[in-house]
């Protein structure tokens, strides 16, 4: 084992001892959220697992306000440092199963204080994200307008967005997370252009343009935040 391997092992043990957790609030009630849910199940959460985080799964029919609130406000829930998920959204809300509201603009301090939030969802970055930050959220990552993707290329779109989760799992700061994510988006856009998929590239570039986080504006929290 190299020194780096020992260091990673030490970090894993440290997180296990602290009992740090993340919560996954993933919808899968129709084809669009289901596609993203499947991708995230297969590709995202393993990164948190191997780095010692426990995963609280508020997925499928559990992606609802009551369940999520109970998890985030319970005594054990105090160990939750990261909120992530896929679901439909609007400027003032993030929804879960059957489109029911999970979070909305208002007093969310008990839910998001001292936590990092990443929502793969339409529009939540315009109002909900800054509202979360006002309520103590350390950093918010989300999209100001509609997150769009092309069927047949959905894995590329989800891969780009998932870089946010992966980098936070690695312990990166919000600023590094953004830079790495931007690089992945740009690499994918260039690869798509090179292959003549101009519309797919255009939509992916649009998604990058509407991504918001602390590196874009202080309304989205602290650039140095990490989990």
């Amino acid at each position: 084992m190299t020194i780096w391997d020992w260091f990673k092992w030490f970090l894993y043990l440290f997180r296990r001892l602290l009992g740090l957790k993340i919560i996954a609030i993933d919808s899968n009630w129709e084809s669009i959220t289901e596609a993203a849910y499947d991708y995230r199940q297969a590709n995202v959460y393993k990164h948190f697992k191997i780095r010692g985080f426990k995963i609280v799964r508020a997925q499928g029919s559990n992606a609802d306000e009551t369940y999520v609130e109970a998890q985030l406000t319970s005594r054990k829930g105090k160990k939750i440092v990261y909120i992530t998920g896929v679901g439909h959204g609007n400027y003032d809300r993030y929804t879960g199963h059957n489109g029911d509201v999970v979070f909305q603009v208002g007093d969310n301090r008990k839910l998001v204080n001292n936590r990092v939030v990443h929502l793969l969802s339409c529009r939540t970055a315009r109002d909900l994200g800054p509202d979360f930050v006002n309520d103590g959220c350390k950093a918010f990552f989300g999209y100001t307008e509609n997150f769009s993707f092309y069927w047949g290329f959905e894995d590329i779109f989800f891969r780009c967005d998932s870089e946010i989760d992966k980098r936070f799992a690695y312990g990166a700061t919000a600023n590094i997370v953004y830079n790495k994510t931007k690089n992945i988006y740009e690499e994918a856009v260039d690869a798509l252009i090179d292959e003549g998929h101009f519309y797919v590239a255009a939509v992916l570039q649009e998604d990058l343009d509407i991504l918001r986080c602390p590196s874009i504006h202080a309304n989205y929290g602290d650039k140095n935040a990490r989990i």
Binding site: I156, S162, A188, A191, Y199, A201
Partner: protein, 131 residues
């Protein structure tokens, strides 16, 4: 998570059309205006006449260009999510959104213009490489 390159390699294997065919299709689509600002030109014509695209187009020209490109496509349908539910637009409906200057119409124009820009960029690159 798979690297982008690996995902793209898989897409290449799955794809029914070649990269060259996709680029050739773009060459024959309307992509800009002649220096008079009215005559529509294909990407191929723009490249032949060495006319830069998009930078000096106003919003009306961009809207007209988008409509022409949508009309020229044999099959056109786009699906967007409204209130959590997918809604499908055909050619006529998409054009109406642009004419009515709706938020969705503006988004269509933006994506179309970006696709043209990317196609232009790729065509220039190929020209430079002497393909």
């Amino acid at each position: 998570m798979k690297p982008i390159k690996k995902i793209m390699d898989e897409k290449k294997k799955e794809s029914k059309r070649s990269k060259e065919e996709r680029i050739a299709e773009q060459m024959d689509l309307i992509a800009g205006f002649d220096e008079d600002g009215e005559t529509l030109l294909t990407l191929k014509q723009l490249l032949e006449r060495k006319i830069a695209i998009l930078a000096e187009l106003n919003e009306i020209q961009k809207g007209n260009l988008t409509k022409e490109r949508i009309k020229a496509q044999e099959e056109y349908k786009i699906v967007i999510i409204q209130d959590g539910k997918p809604k499908e637009y055909d050619k006529e409906e998409a054009i109406k959104e642009i004419e009515d200057d709706t938020k969705f119409g503006k988004q269509l124009v933006k994506i179309e213009m970006r696709a043209v820009e990317f196609a232009f960029k790729q065509a220039m690159k190929q020209n430079r490489n002497g393909d």
